[in-house]
C-alpha cells in the first residue's frame, strides 16, 4: 500500500500535516504523538523578529468550532533556527515552516534566513485575520498576494506554498494569482473571520473583538474551496479546515488536496494526527486502494 504523496517535489510519507499555529513546533505534542508517523510538521508562523501577539482573552469556543486571535505571537527567526529546527530534525518527518510578516521585506528576510536550513517547504502566511499589518491584507488583494509570492520565490531555496484566506469573494482567483506569480503550491483554508459576544457581560469574547473561526463547523466550506481551487490551478493543494477524522481528511483529498493539515482537532484530542494517519490506512485497506494518489481529486 502506498500512502506517500508528492507535494511540489517533496515526498511526504503520508498526506497528514499539522496546521500552523495549532501544534507549536511539535515539542509540546511529541509527548502524545510520534512525530515520525506524520507526513510533516507545519510550524507556527515565524517572523523576522519576536512578536508579542494580542491581548487576552485570545480564544473562545463556539458551537462546533472556536475563535482565536493569538496575533501570531512568535519568538522570531533567531530563536526558531536555534531551538525549533534542531528539535524537528531529530524526527523522520518533513519540516514545513510557516512564515509571517508585516511587510514584503519581513517575509523576504525570514525566507532568506531559512535558505541554508534543513527545511523542506515554506508556507507563506498571507491570510492571518488577527494582525493589523501584513497577514490577511496581502491575502485579500490578488496583486499584493502575487507580489509577495514573487518576492519570496526570488530568494527561496525551498518550494513555496502560499496559504490562502477564505475571507475573499473568489478563492480560485487568488490561487490563480499566486500560481501565475510562481507559487509551487497553495494551502487552504485559513480561518474565517468571526465574532462572539458574551450577552451577560455585554462584552466581546475576544480582546481583539474578531477572531479566526476554525473547527468542524467550517469543514464543508474547506471542501468546497479546495474543490474550486483544484479546478482552477495545476499546482498541488494542502487542504485544511475543520478536519476531525480520517473521513474528513479523505474528503479534502477527493476534492483535490494532495496533503491535509489537521489543526483545531489537536486541541480536542492531542493524539488525533496519528489516529488520522491510521484511519486513512484502514480506509485504503477496506476500499482496496493500493495507492493513495488515486484519491487526489478523484471526485470531479
Amino acid at each position: 500500500m502506498n500512502t506517500s504523496v508528492n507535494l511540489a517535489g517533496v515526498t511526504l510519507k503520508n498526506p497528514i500535516l499539522t496546521a500552523s499555529g495549532t501544534f507549536g513546533s511539535g515539542q509540546e505534542y511529541a509527548q502524545f504523538v510520534d512525530l515520525n508517523k506524520l507526513g510533516g510538521v507545519v510550524t507556527k508562523g515565524v517572523a523576522n523578529v519576536p512578536w508579542e501577539g494580542n491581548p487576552t482573552p485570545r480564544v473562545a469556543e463556539v458551537y462546533g468550532g472556536m475563535l482565536n486571535a493569538i496575533g501570531l505571537q512568535n519568538p522570531g527567526i533567531d530563536v526558531f533556527v536555534e531551538r525549533d529546527i534542531p528539535f524537528l530534525t531529530k524526527y523522520d518527518t518533513k519540516i514545513v515552516v510557516n512564515v509571517c510578516g508585516r511587510s514584503e521585506a519581513d517575509y523576504v528576510e525570514v525566507v532568506e534566513r531559512l535558505a541554508d536550513q534543513p527545511v523542506d517547504l515554506l508556507e507563506i502566511n498571507i491570510s492571518c485575520p488577527n494582525v493589523k499589518e501584513g497577514g490577511i491584507a496581502f491575502g485579500q488583494d490578488p496583486k499584493a498576494a502575487a507580489a509577495i509570492t514573487k518576492a519570496v520565490k526570488a530568494v527561496a531555496k525551498q518550494p513555496v506554498v502560499m496559504k490562502l484566506s477564505p475571507n475573499v469573494t473568489d478563492i480560485a482567483y487568488m490561487a490563480q494569482a499566486v500560481e501565475a506569480a510562481g507559487a509551487d503550491a497553495v494551502s487552504l483554508i485559513n480561518t474565517l473571520t468571526g465574532m462572539k459576544i458574551d450577552v451577560k457581560k455585554r462584552q466581546f469574547a475576544l480582546a481583539n473583538k474578531t477572531g479566526g473561526m476554525s473547527g468542524p463547523a467550517i469543514h464543508p466550506i474547506a471542501v468546497r474551496m479546495v474543490y474550486q481551487v483544484a479546478q482552477a490551478v495545476k499546482i498541488p493543494i494542502i487542504g485544511m479546515g475543520g478536519v476531525m477524522s480520517a473521513e474528513d481528511a479523505l474528503e479534502l483529498m477527493l476534492a483535490g488536496a494532495t496533503a491535509v493539515s489537521v489543526g483545531t482537532a489537536n486541541f480536542t484530542n492531542p493524539r488525533i494526527t496519528e489516529e488520522i494517519v491510521e484511519g486513512i490506512k484502514d480506509y485504503m485497506a477496506e476500499q482496496g486502494v493500493d495507492d493513495i494518489t488515486e484519491l487526489i481529486g478523484a471526485v470531479k
Binding site: 499555529g21 487576552t56 482565536n68
Partner: protein, 255 residues
C-alpha cells in the same frame, strides 16, 4: 519525559456540594501519581460540538487509590455536561498540567476565594509547617470541613452571612493574621489585592492564575499573561499560564 498523560479516567463518585458546585472523584492510571498541589487537568467533553478541554484544578490527590478530586462550578455547557455524569462514566483527561505551588517550610497563609478555594486544599494537606487558612465566599460555603481538619480556618463572606463580612483580605485584617509566605487562588481582583498586600508587608507570595485555554499543553499560546521578565518560549513578556503557570511568584506577573 512523561510528566503528563492522556487517560480515560473513571468517575468514582460525584455530588453537588453547593449550588452549582460539584465534587468529582476520578480514578486515574498515572495522573494521581504524577500530580502535585496547584496543578490542573484538562477535561474533554463528549459532545462533539464542544472542542476545547476544560481546565479544572486538582482539589485533592489520593495517591494510594490513584484518584484525584475535582471541585468545579458549572459555568457553561461543558461543565454542565460533566455535572451530569455518574459513577462509572469515563472522561478523557490530560494531566497533570502546569506547575503547582512550591512547598516551603515557612509560616503560611493559604487564601482561597470562590472557586479558587478547591486548589489550595491539597496544598493545605501537604504543607507540614504552621499554617492559617482563609476562605472567601460570596455566600454559600463549601469544603469548609476538609480545611478545618488541616489548620486554623477563617471565613469571609461577601454577604456577611458567616465570619468576616467582605473578602479574604478583610478577614486577614480583622483577625490580625500574619505569615512569612502566602499561597493564593481566586478571582483576579482578589489576586491583585493579595499581591499588593504581600508586597506592602514584604511577604513572599505565590498566586494561581486562570485564562481561557485551547490546547492546555503550551502549544497554542492562547492563555498567556503579562510577565515582568521575558518568557522562555517567545522571549517576549508573555508567560503561558498552562505551562509556566498556573502558579506564579506574584512578582513574576503583571496583573
Amino acid at each position: 519525559m512523561t510528566d503528563k498523560v492522556l487517560e480515560n479516567a473513571i468517575i468514582i463518585r460525584q455530588e453537588e456540594i453547593a449550588t452549582d458546585v460539584y465534587s468529582m472523584w476520578l480514578m486515574t492510571e498515572q495522573i494521581a501519581d504524577l500530580a502535585t498541589p496547584g496543578q490542573f487537568v484538562a477535561v474533554y467533553c463528549t459532545d462533539g460540538s464542544r472542542l476545547l478541554p476544560r481546565p479544572i484544578s486538582i482539589c485533592e490527590i489520593d495517591r494510594a487509590d490513584h484518584a484525584i478530586r475535582l471541585v468545579y462550578r458549572v459555568v457553561g455547557k461543558g461543565t454542565e455536561e460533566f455535572s451530569g455524569y455518574h459513577t462509572g462514566a469515563q472522561l478523557r483527561v490530560v494531566g497533570p498540567l502546569g506547575n503547582g505551588y512550591p512547598k516551603k517550610s515557612k509560616r503560611a497563609l493559604l487564601l482561597g476565594g470562590g472557586i479558587g478555594v478547591p486548589p489550595i486544599l491539597q496544598l493545605a494537606k501537604e504543607l507540614e509547617c504552621e499554617k492559617t487558612i482563609v476562605l472567601g465566599y460570596r455566600d454559600e460555603r463549601f469544603l469548609e470541613e476538609e480545611f478545618r481538619a488541616q489548620g486554623n480556618v477563617y471565613i469571609a463572606t461577601e454577604d456577611g452571612s458567616f465570619g468576616t463580612q467582605g473578602n479574604v483580605l478583610d478577614a486577614i485584617r480583622e483577625n490580625g493574621l500574619d505569615a512569612e509566605i502566602i499561597y493564593a487562588c481566586g478571582p483576579m481582583p482578589m489576586l491583585r489585592a493579595v499581591k499588593k498586600y504581600a508586597a506592602e508587608h514584604g511577604i513572599e507570595c505565590w498566586i494561581s492564575l486562570e485564562e481561557r485555554m485551547a490546547c492546555g499543553i503550551g502549544a497554542c499560546l492562547g492563555c498567556v499573561c503579562k510577565s515582568t521578565k521575558k518568557d522562555s518560549h517567545t522571549h517576549v513578556h508573555n508567560k503561558r499560564i498552562c505551562t509556566e503557570g498556573p502558579v506564579f511568584r506574584a512578582e513574576e506577573v503583571d496583573i
